[in-house]
């Protein structure tokens, strides 16, 4: 039954239907509405049995989740941005211990300068942590992905992170069809841990592993990620059979059938990009979109297959590796067929800067004209950059970079 819901609310309702037994919360924008709503459900007894724990930091939030999961409880938490970085040691640890924690990441930029708005820098910072990272395009998909996330995590003993764009999705109110409790229950069996802390069958979990076995441990974890490449599509298909919705899976191809130009992206921006593609298709251009739904494990084969006819590939991504360039783009390049389409990276939407249909059409135009550089930054204010560069060249002590830029922007060097 479709309802008009805030994204966070949809997540909270769906997570509750997954019957988590321990939920940990430490507030950080834009994740707060999710945990507030779950907290309320625990308080009023709608979600039971469930321990809702207000902790003193994200580090504790992930740590509590680790303990709960190791003790056999279905565990959930949510965070964003700085919070993810603050818990990063525990994020790696949960994966290393093979604990199927599910976490919502309300994607947000990382400071300094502090910035509460959306981009994907946080998710990219933990891409090597050993978690499965799924990106949602819509609130419907975000909600559905949580049900699949618990199923995947527990089947594989691997933690899963559902990434959804902060504010853009979390705070957007739109129609969502929540999965019925009965459907969730049939889809998601009770948690059967692969290992558990049990006085009746004690084990030591978390040994120190030396050079003699560490590589094998790591390789085994890698193999579990590769297993996930098999399992993610089948779980999505099973979910689709129950709900009729094509949420999840590895990739979301859109109008790729004869496309010679393909835009690759993740998350909510895919909708905007599809609009732009539709517009360009109207104009007769053979343009398509490839949404990457599973970023880790990275679906190399699926991406390669999707791009096999493309002559130009444009990766639009909301994060980059300073001093190098696109992060997603690097993975796409690795996956690209040997024939080697031209690949351009457009870094866009950093710190919440809007990405419009017109922007995307502009990118497609420039690509078609051959004027799109291999790496570009959407709507970059060249004047501001130039003035700061000049100032830095004039004096080695030019003052805080961010403040200077703000001053320039305020002085009329607006980015458009």
């Amino acid at each position: 039954m479709l309802q008009q819901l805030e994204g966070s609310r949809a997540i909270a309702e769906t997570v509750a239907r997954c019957r988590p037994e321990v939920v940990c919360a430490y507030p950080i924008s834009p994740q707060t509405h999710i945990i507030e709503a779950i907290g309320a459900m625990v308080k009023d007894g709608r979600l039971a049995p469930c321990e809702f724990i207000n902790v003193e930091s994200e580090y504790a939030a992930m740590s509590v989740s680790i303990g709960a999961s190791a003790a056999g409880a279905r565990s959930y938490t949510a965070t964003a941005s700085q919070g993810l970085l603050f818990m990063i040691e525990a994020v790696y640890n949960a994966a290393g211990l093979g604990l199927p924690v599910v976490m919502t990441l309300a994607n947000r930029a990382i400071g300094a300068p502090i910035n509460i708005w959306n981009d994907h820098s946080d998710a990219m910072a933990v891409r090597d942590a050993g978690w499965i990272q799924l990106f949602a395009e819509t609130n419907q998909e975000a909600a559905d992905l949580h049900v699949q996330a618990f199923r995947l995590a527990e089947a594989l003993s691997v933690p899963v992170m559902v990434c959804m764009d902060g504010f853009i999705l979390t705070h957007a109110v739109e129609a969502v069809d929540l999965v019925d409790q009965a459907v969730v229950d049939s889809f998601l069996p009770p948690y059967e841990p692969r290992q558990v802390l049990d006085p009746d069958d004690p084990v030591s979990i978390g040994a120190m592993v030396g050079p003699e076995a560490f590589e094998e441990v790591r390789y085994l974890a890698h193999l579990r990620q590769l297993d996930a490449l098999e399992l993610i599509p089948s779980v999505a298909e099973e979910f689709a059979a129950l709900t009729g919705r094509a949420s999840g899976g590895l990739v979301h191809p859109y109008r790729l059938e004869d496309a010679d130009t393909v835009i690759v992206a993740m998350g909510s921006v895919l909708g905007t990009i599809k609009d732009a593609v539709d517009a360009r298709r109207e104009a007769g251009e053979r343009v398509g979109v490839l949404g990457v739904a599973a970023f880790r494990p990275f679906p190399v084969a699926a991406v390669a297959d999707a791009l096999r006819r493309a002559r130009r590939v444009i990766v639009v991504e909301k994060a980059f590796s300073l001093g190098m360039g696109g992060v997603l783009a690097t993975d796409v390049a690795t996956a690209s067929p040997a024939s080697g389409p031209d690949l351009a990276t457009v870094v866009a939407g950093l710190g919440g800067r809007p990405i419009t249909r017109r922007d995307v059409e502009g990118i497609i135009e420039r690509s078609a004209r051959g004027t799109l550089p291999r790496l570009s930054f959407l709507n970059l204010d060249e004047d501001v950059v130039a003035r700061e560069r000049a100032r830095m060249a004039a004096s080695r002590r030019s003052g805080p970079f961010a403040e200077n830029v703000l001053r320039d922007v305020a002085a009329g060097g607006a980015h458009r």
């Binding site: 290393g96 290992q195 069958d201 084990v203 978390g206 592993v209």
Partner: protein
């Protein structure tokens, strides 16, 4: 459980890692010689019988005790307990009241009618024991245990020697004496009383003895020449006490002076008080610190109204007057006359200046006598094969306990002699010195004093002065034992090992070190209360 590789491990798997390879020193359990045992002239295993007494198993304690000494009720009264002087607990609070517990065990044994063990299988050999004092009785007991027949001959009417005729009844009730002697005799002994042996060789033949143990004691009071008038009443302490024991006390009058500083002097003075003397005065030529008598005897005598003239010698005894010369200690601590004279009223003078042995029975024999005593070897054998001597006859401190020890050693010597073997003293363990103990673990506990008869009562009768411990007190006292040098299963080593490398065997079997895991840290040694573990370098 389907365990993830390497990260999750099955419990206790580290037992595969034998950390014993780290060790360069290893702890080893030892039994050290407790100072009480070391000091005991009778060779009692005091620590061991206390160990049994601690658990309330008095019979086992008593049986352990009488392995070495068949007269615990007597020893518990008359022994001057060098064990307590040596006791390590002195340095914690006070010595353990070993003597009191010994008496408690001895009395309990009498009360419950416990009997000594059966004699050993008959060896077909006979031993003549001359003298039924502590040495003779002890030898008799140990010889019977070894299966040898014993003929026990004594010149007095009754057995016991100086225990009967020297030690006053207020210190050793005769019922106790009789009971313990009777128990030895129950093992089957041919007894001949009232018969003085005059020729040792002849007696050996007469009784067809394969060996002789000579233990006639020192029954002759030593006399010194003190100028005395005809009317002066002078008697030696040995005779005095002997007659008191035979219920035939000499009349000494109301003012009795005893000359001497040993325990016999005190016995004489205290006995005189009990016989009605109003003034019982001891004259001794040195000071109290130099007095050979045991301090607690002195204390008890003073408590009973006996007075002492320290640093005094008797010059003359005339009429009812003693002339006394004051002495002073010189730089070496020896008394020297000062020329200063005093008078002291006295009805009688008792000389307690030491005793001599009557060795006339050795005249004409090959047995060598030197300085009034018979020199003996390790096995108590004289220079005549088959003739052994002990107790006051042999060079010694002349206490009942020493005599008991001599009797035991002589019995072993005789047993070896009869078996054609050479006697060897068993090897002694190294001493459990105080420094080896970790006394922190011992709870603070004062010694339980044996109740003393009210002083007023003991001045007038021969009732026993020192009472016995109640069972509770005896148990408490026994548990004050530090068990020096001998494991008493306190579980400390088992508990304090960081490597779980001590195996508790339990049930009196103590512990074992598990050298597979012991890293040789030494904590068990450091924390063993009684010093029963030591570190030794690891051999390759």
């Amino acid at each position: 459980m389907d365990r993830p590789f390497a990260i999750t491990l099955p419990v206790g798997s580290s037992r595969a890692n034998h950390t014993g390879s780290w060790r360069v020193e290893r702890p080893v359990y030892v039994d050290r010689l407790p100072p009480c045992n070391d000091a005991c002239p009778a060779g009692e295993n005091i620590q061991r019988w206390l160990y049994h007494a601690e658990s309330g198993d008095y019979e086992t304690a008593w049986r352990t005790l009488v392995e070495e000494n068949p007269l615990p009720a007597i020893m518990g009264r008359v022994c001057f307990h060098p064990c307590e002087t040596a006791c390590n607990r002195v340095r914690v609070d006070e010595a353990v009241g070993i003597n009191a517990v010994e008496r408690f065990l001895g009395d309990t044994a009498i009360a419950r009618g416990w009997r000594l063990g059966e004699p050993g299988p008959d060896s077909g050999r006979r031993v003549l024991v001359v003298g039924a004092g502590p040495a003779g009785l002890s030898a008799t007991y140990h010889l019977r245990r070894a299966g040898h027949a014993v003929t026990l001959v004594d010149g007095a009417a009754r057995l016991g020697g100086m225990m009967r005729y020297g030690i006053p009844a207020y210190r050793l009730p005769r019922a106790v004496l009789d009971a313990e002697i009777e128990r030895v005799l129950e093992m089957g002994v041919e007894v001949v009383t009232g018969r003085s042996v005059e020729d040792i060789a002849a007696a050996r033949d007469e009784f067809s003895a394969d060996a002789v143990f000579l233990a006639v004691g020192a029954q002759l009071g030593r006399r010194v020449s003190i100028p005395a008038g005809d009317s002066a009443k002078v008697v030696d302490a040995v005779t005095f006490l002997h007659r008191v024991a035979e219920d035939d006390p000499p009349l000494l009058g109301r003012r009795v002076v005893v000359y001497g500083g040993g325990d016999t002097a005190l016995d004489a003075a205290r006995t005189a008080r009990r016989l009605g003397a109003t003034d019982a005065t001891i004259v001794y030529r040195r000071n109290r610190a130099k007095m050979p008598a045991h301090a607690e005897e002195v204390e008890q005598a003073l408590g009973e109204g006996v007075t002492v003239r320290w640093l005094s010698t008797i010059e003359r005894f005339e009429g009812e007057r003693l002339l006394i010369e004051k002495m002073a200690l010189n730089a070496e601590g020896f008394p020297e006359p000062t020329g200063e004279l005093e008078e002291l009223d006295a009805d009688a003078l008792v000389l307690a200046l030491g005793q001599d042995t009557d060795l006339s029975l050795l005249e004409g024999s090959e047995v060598h006598v030197a300085d009034g005593v018979v020199p003996v070897g390790e096995s108590m054998m004289t220079d005549v094969p088959g003739v052994f001597a002990g107790g006051d006859v042999a060079p010694s401190d002349r206490t009942a306990t020493v005599a008991v020890g001599h009797g035991k050693r002589a019995a072993k010597g005789i047993d070896a002699y009869l078996g054609g073997q050479s006697f060897e003293r068993p090897e002694r363990h190294p001493l459990a010195a105080f420094e080896r103990l970790n006394t922190w673990y011992y709870a603070d506990a004062p010694r339980t004093e044996r109740p003393e008869l009210e002083r007023i009562r003991r001045q007038t009768n021969f009732e026993e002065v020192i009472g016995g411990l109640t069972e509770d007190n005896a148990l408490f006292e026994a548990r004050r034992c530090l068990s020096c040098g001998n494991c008493f299963e306190c579980d400390n080593c088992f508990g304090v090992c960081p490597d779980n490398a001590v195996i508790k065997l339990g049930g009196g079997d103590r512990y074992e070190i598990d050298y597979d895991y012991c890293k040789g840290c030494g904590i068990c040694v450091a924390e063993c209360p009684c010093g029963a573990i030591e570190m030794v370098p690891e051999r390759i």
